[in-house]
């Protein structure tokens, strides 16, 4: 393999980074008046990047041909699946942002560029084959995300969200780095394949500490209990389009990265990390469900909902099989659609003065003021709860199926029982919208772009989404196999 082949493998990353730099200069010289054209160009770039990862996704590319730069970067089918989700959610977050920020008079040309760089970082995360590549991708994503969280810099809550995210993100990076240094110290390598080989036999206590610290750092990034506490504050404080982004692209990347690190680098020590993953999964499901009950802010509620959903995703990882990895990917795909749909629906709710409505009591009786939005939001809530006619049920089904086939029947049963707790607050939102006295707060018209996204996600989440189960399952299976789990 020569450098030409390597560069072909990182072509999507090259495209995004070069266009990010060019658009940065355009933003500096033309100014904020070019914010909309730059957003459209950035979305186009991500669209082209989708086509670039397409072949690897459909072929389920695997093997040594997908390793670039001596195994530091892997452009395999697994990475392609995650990247496709990341790029698509990046496009969605670019579509919803201009209308939101322009109404607040805060649209800046830097927003699409920060999204591009963050997406670039997440793409590197899912493709990493080495602890150093992992860290570079994670930091590239995080540094852009810290700025995005405090994008409404004159708003106290947004500034607070940015600061909290920065401090806790830095702490998480520190924990991760400490774990990585321990792993390097006890195995003598940072390459995933070589770490796997070095951990074939018994695990030394030092390496065990390294493994746990790495998992704790990753748990911070995916917001799994007990490292979830930053999520509600950051999700509530950040501007809604940014929250949509946090709940989709970086979440997909961090989960995919956790799967790759667990199954590849630590794949032969599954007994050591499985109990941690099982604990984090059950604790996330229960705490995400209980924490959401008392919330009166819709964005906080969705933050707890994302903690809850990460728990279900981790059940798929706990299975530790290619089937489990495939279930995680299927769940992620459905989860991203549901999340984007719910946040777009919230974004479309404004009161008479044009302020954004976030409180649950303000959407009382929404079914009479805005019947279509209320219907779709109700569908999203039922889907997040995993009720059968909606597509969200399928994600939970494949995850539990993988757990049962890996002989984790007790875990699956506990997960199913705990998902009932979560159904309570999802149904509460539906009840408030359809059966309570109208609050009459929500008024005004919504942008066409928002409608397109809302209806698009609603169709996928609706029972029509089941038409996708076979192609989605096929692609996810191929992607999971390309992780090369053979010992």
């Amino acid at each position: 393999m020569d450098f030409g082949n390597y560069l072909a493998l990182i072509a999507p990353e090259l495209l995004i980074s070069i266009s990010g730099l060019v658009l940065l200069l355009v933003a500096a010289w033309v100014g904020d008046s070019a914010a909309r054209p730059i957003s459209i160009l950035a979305a186009l770039v991500l669209g082209v990047a989708c086509f670039m990862v397409g072949p690897a996704l459909f072929d389920g590319a695997s093997g040594p041909d997908t390793n670039a730069f001596a195994g530091q970067f892997r452009a395999d089918g697994f990475a392609a699946f995650a990247k496709m989700l990341i790029y698509l959610s990046g496009i969605a977050c670019l579509m919803i942002a201009p209308a939101f920020f322009e109404r607040l008079g805060a649209m800046r040309a830097e927003y699409p560029i920060l999204i591009l760089f963050s997406v670039l970082g997440t793409g590197i995360m899912v493709s990493s084959g080495n602890l150093i590549t992992l860290y570079i991708g994670l930091e590239l994503n995080s540094l852009a995300a810290y700025v995005l969280a405090s994008f409404l810099r004159n708003d106290g809550r947004s500034a607070e969200a940015g600061l909290k995210y920065f401090i806790l993100g830095a702490l998480a990076s520190g924990i991760l780095l400490y774990g990585m240094s321990l792993v390097y110290g006890f195995t003598g390598t940072t390459d995933f394949t070589l770490i796997r080989a070095a951990m074939t036999l018994e695990l030394s206590t030092g390496a065990l500490f390294g493994l746990i610290f790495v998992l704790a750092g990753l748990a911070f990034k995916i917001a799994a209990v007990p490292f979830h506490m930053w999520t509600p504050d950051v999700y509530e404080g950040a501007p809604t389009p940014v929250t949509t982004f946090f709940a989709s692209a970086p979440k997909v990347a961090a989960v995919a990265l956790t799967v790759r690190v667990s199954l590849d680098a630590f794949g032969l020590q599954a007994d050591a990390w499985r109990q941690i993953v099982i604990f984090a999964a059950l604790a996330s499901i229960v705490l995400g469900a209980l924490g959401a009950i008392g919330q009166d802010n819709l964005k906080r509620l969705l933050a707890y909902s994302s903690i809850n959903n990460v728990g279900f995703i981790l059940i798929g990882l706990a299975a530790g099989t290619p089937q489990g990895a495939s279930a995680v990917l299927v769940y992620l795909a459905i989860y991203v659609v549901m999340t984007i749909g719910s946040f777009v629906a919230i974004l479309m709710l404004r009161d008479a003065d044009g302020n954004y409505v976030e409180n649950i009591r303000d959407i009382a009786g929404l079914s009479r003021a805005k019947p279509l939005i209320a219907l779709i939001l109700a569908g999203m809530m039922l889907s997040l709860a995993g009720l059968p006619p909606m597509f969200g049920f399928w994600g939970k089904f494949v995850v539990f199926q993988a757990a049962v086939q890996a002989d984790l029947i007790l875990l699956a049963a506990l997960g199913i029982a705990a998902s009932v707790i979560g159904a309570f607050y999802y149904l509460k939102v539906v009840k408030v919208m359809f059966f309570d006295e109208p609050a009459g707060v929500v008024q005004g018209r919504s942008e066409t772009g928002h409608w397109v996204l809302l209806i698009g996600t609603a169709i996928i989440v609706s029972p029509l989404g089941y038409l996708l189960t076979i192609p989605l399952g096929l692609l996810a299976d191929r992607a999971a196999v390309s992780l090369s789990l053979l010992p």
Partner: protein, 124 residues
């Protein structure tokens, strides 16, 4: 008797979580005892060198220029720190090493041009 040693990983994991949450609670309490607010004297509360007043409303807006200059300094200082090992090992890394560093410098120049155009280098 169940072999409890197999649950060591989860014990360590929960230990990390507990230690971190204790840190969040007790570290600010401990640090605040060391600062001027706990045992104030005129010297502790006075301004240090050319800095800001020690205690004021944290939400007030302040001149961001100090920070811009400091951040830009760090970036270009680190660039220099990268250049020295690169220069002495160029015979080992060869053309790929040279091209990589040129790409890195180009990216920094793009950022520098952005900062310049945005007026980050002008004091007023």
């Amino acid at each position: 008797m169940v072999d409890l040693s197999q649950y060591l990983p989860i014990l360590i994991f929960l230990g990390i979580a507990l230690a971190l949450s204790c840190l969040f609670v007790f570290l600010p309490m401990g640090v605040s005892r060391l600062t001027g607010s706990h045992n104030p004297t005129a010297e502790k509360l006075s301004e240090y060198e050319c800095g800001f007043p020690a205690f004021e409303d944290p939400r007030s807006q302040f001149d961001v220029n100090f920070y811009l200059i400091a951040i830009l300094f760090i970036i270009f200082d680190l660039e220099a720190a990268f250049l020295f090992p690169w220069a002495v090992s160029l015979d080992l890394t060869g053309w790929p090493g040279w091209i990589t560093m040129m790409i890195f410098l180009f990216e920094l120049i793009v950022g520098f041009a952005y900062a310049w155009k945005k007026g980050a280098l002008e004091w007023e």
